[in-house]
């Protein structure tokens, strides 16, 4: 089945701008979360973070 041009939704400029704004915010939030988990793990466990049974 092919998608007809008539069935597709084209975003308006303001919708595109808002989506881009939200995407950037989500990317920044995810990056911040990664940093928080990384630093928080080191702060909580210290060198013991790397002690595990082989």
């Amino acid at each position: 089945m092919t998608v007809q041009d008539e069935d597709r939704i084209t975003l308006t400029e303001s919708q595109k701008k808002a989506r881009r704004n939200r995407s950037v915010a989500i990317a920044l939030a995810l990056a911040a979360f990664v940093v928080v988990v990384y630093l928080g793990s080191i702060a909580k466990f210290g060198p013991a973070l790397f002690d595990r049974a082989m």
Partner: protein, 314 residues
């Protein structure tokens, strides 16, 4: 090619969002969040134990995000009455910027991540208290009490009073008398703060059908209760000094701020019913914010000074 805009999709229930990140940030009630961040930070930093600074920052961040999640879930549930009050009509949901189901999903995701982050990286007691606070604010206050009883903000005020206890628990892993007194200061401060607002917003609350104390018990009764709570909070504010774990400088600051709070509440008590401008109620509302900031700042300064003095003497 069809360009479909919101006006046309609105009829079918579909809608292409034009909400920006700023609209989602507004769902977090940033002004309330700033007070939560400050009181949680004081609860955490005023403990007598040394706290890892990274864990301290993560704890405050998680508490802030948890408080923001509560705000988003509150706006999701209250979108109908928010639209009827001038003070809240421009919030993202009644303004048509964010859909209710988007706000619900946003709030739930943030609540989950804030609690898990606090538990996994800092302390599980603090995380459990944060989860309870979110539950209390959303289910007990917003869904149950707010539209049913004039005691809504008295009982619901507990949700706003928990952050310093959570901060304390994040640092020490425990609940103690000191943290309970910080809780009590905010808990007892909440009714006079909100009832001062409700006095000069009586019409709006009435239009929205929210049974605030002035709408239910009347002007005189509300003013009497405001004064009674202000006197009690002034006394409780001095307790850390009276019990011997805060210094005289804190005691003096708390006594002065408490006297100011009681004085402004007294002026509200003397305010005639016909006073349409309600300047004393507006003044009390403004001073109540200064009171809370001032007493927590004094408590923090006192605790940090005591720690510095102990280090200098060692």
């Amino acid at each position: 090619m069809a360009i479909i805009q919101n006006e046309r999709l609105g009829d079918t229930g579909l809608r292409l969002s034009e909400a920006t990140a700023g609209d989602y940030f507004a769902l977090l009630k940033p002004r309330v969040m700033s007070l939560v961040v400050f009181t949680a930070f004081v609860g955490l930093a005023a403990t007598p134990v040394a706290v890892n600074p990274v864990q301290a920052m993560i704890a405050v961040l998680a508490i802030a995000v948890g408080a923001g999640a509560s705000g988003a879930l509150n706006m999701w549930y209250d979108a109908d009455i928010d639209g009827r009050m001038r003070r809240t009509a421009s919030r993202p949901i009644p303004a048509g910027l964010v859909r209710p189901d988007e706000a619900l999903a946003f709030g739930l995701v943030l609540a989950f991540f804030s609690v898990m982050t606090l538990g996994l990286l800092v302390d599980w007691l603090a995380a459990a208290m944060l989860a309870f606070t979110i539950f209390f604010y959303v289910c007990v206050y917003t869904m149950w009490l707010k539209r049913r009883t004039p005691q809504n903000i008295v009982i619901g005020g507990a949700a706003g009073a928990f952050p310093p206890m959570i901060g304390w628990a994040a640092a020490t892993g425990a609940v103690s008398l000191e943290s309970v007194i910080l809780f009590l200061i905010i808990f007892l401060w909440t009714p006079p703060h909100f009832w001062a607002l409700a006095l000069f917003k009586t019409d709006e609350y009435g239009r929205a059908g929210i049974p605030m104390m002035p709408n239910v018990a009347g002007h005189e009764s509300t003013c009497r209760q405001i004064f009674a709570y202000a006197v009690v909070v002034a006394a409780v504010g001095v307790l850390p000094w009276a019990l011997g774990y805060a210094g005289a400088a804190y005691g003096a600051a708390a006594a002065l701020l408490g006297a100011g709070f009681a004085w402004y509440a007294w002026k509200v008590l003397r305010m005639p019913r016909e006073d349409a401008a309600m300047a004393p109620a507006k003044a009390l509302f403004a001073f109540s914010l200064l009171y809370l900031f001032g007493i927590f700042a004094a408590y923090l300064a006192d605790a940090l000074f005591a720690r510095w003095a102990a280090l200098a003497g060692a």
